[in-house]
Amino acid sequence: MAVEAKLAKEIIAKRVAMELKNGQLVNLGIGLPTLVANYIPKDVYVVLQSENGMVGMGSTPEQGKEDKNITNAGGQYVTINSNGAYFDSAFSFSLIRGGHVDITVLGALEVDQYGNLSNWIIPGKLVPGMGGAMDLVTGAKKVIVAMQHTAKGDNKIKKNCLLPLTAKGEVDMIVTELGVMLVTEKGLVLTEIHKDTTVEEVIQLTDAELIIDENLKVMNI
């Protein structure tokens, strides 16, 4: 199954959106995870957090209606819903580290079968910094990695992360365009695959040892 990036991202965002439940506080990382907001089911009401200082984040403002005092964690203009609240960074991370965020969705450079995540540094090459990611991954109740299954031909789901970690053993779920994997005590379990791929293909594109769930399903997106 070879799909172009745009479609891959759409598949991933759609599937992650299905994880969100009514009333949850959710933090969507910059990039692909942001797309999840477009696919939240109509009957599910979640509250989005932006770690720079708000809950109840709304949609992108219409052109010309941007307010320079209201931005998201990517520095882009956003709006706030009527049930939202603003606060400073200390309170923001009380929410995050304190376990009040139900789900955080992040991208990854690498993720491994033990739930380790690397997404903030490639030593000597790329050093963006961890921003709020380390606190989010450590503090959120459920950590979902949302990313394309491979990058430039490299398998990103490893036996062991080689890059410096963002957090140790905190990832709960990995969603790619090929399928859904859960980090369990037994190991990494493939629970769903995309209709256009095969278990063999997923195994081939995954460095981690994959346990195939006995109730393996087709992604219902």
């Binding site: 932006s50 720079n52 960074s89 050093v127 910094g129 380390m134 503090g139 957090a167 140790k168």
Partner: protein, 217 residues
Amino acid sequence: MNKVVDYSVIKPLLKDGLTIMIGGFLGCGTPEGLINLILEMGLKELTIIGNDTSFVDKGIGRLIANGNVKKAIVSHIGTNPESGKQMHEGTLEVELSPQGTLIERIRAGGSGLGGVITPTGVGTIVEEGKEKILLQGKEYLIELPLRADIALVFASKTDTFGNAYYKGTTKNFNPIIALAADIVVVETEEIVEVGEIHPEVVMTPGVLVDYIVKGDF
């Protein structure tokens, strides 16, 4: 006790080599007029503490691009290519601190606490060189407090006593850095009379503020 002053009064407070905290998150809520002042003065060897190094043409990012900064203690430098470039060239020292840890270290510095006991960074390279502690069966890092010589705060509205109000997401680091520096300068979009900011919405009480400048940027 008139705290409302011109940029010219702030100028002599700013010197080479100082440690300066600056409010803002990717430039949102940064006192750009005070950034201009530092650029004009051509200060050198500054240590800057803030959330990030912003963009090359915005906020703290301008100080990085202009070579005013020796060391940056921040959570993120990815949006400013100059930061990474200078870091690799060895002209800029970067101490990366997780965002929640960073703000809590500043809060500790301003609140008389000796450090922060956080799970964030355990099992990562962030723990290198730091004391670890086992409490109630869980491992934590001890992160040390941060303070600065001077804090440059951005506020949306400030009364002449220094009570400050921050709109929307401009709050970010601003009310916290106002606790953690020897001198606190607030650059504000609007100066109002005492009484015009209700005691309920003041986020930084005037007692913490030394100087107020009307923003010019």
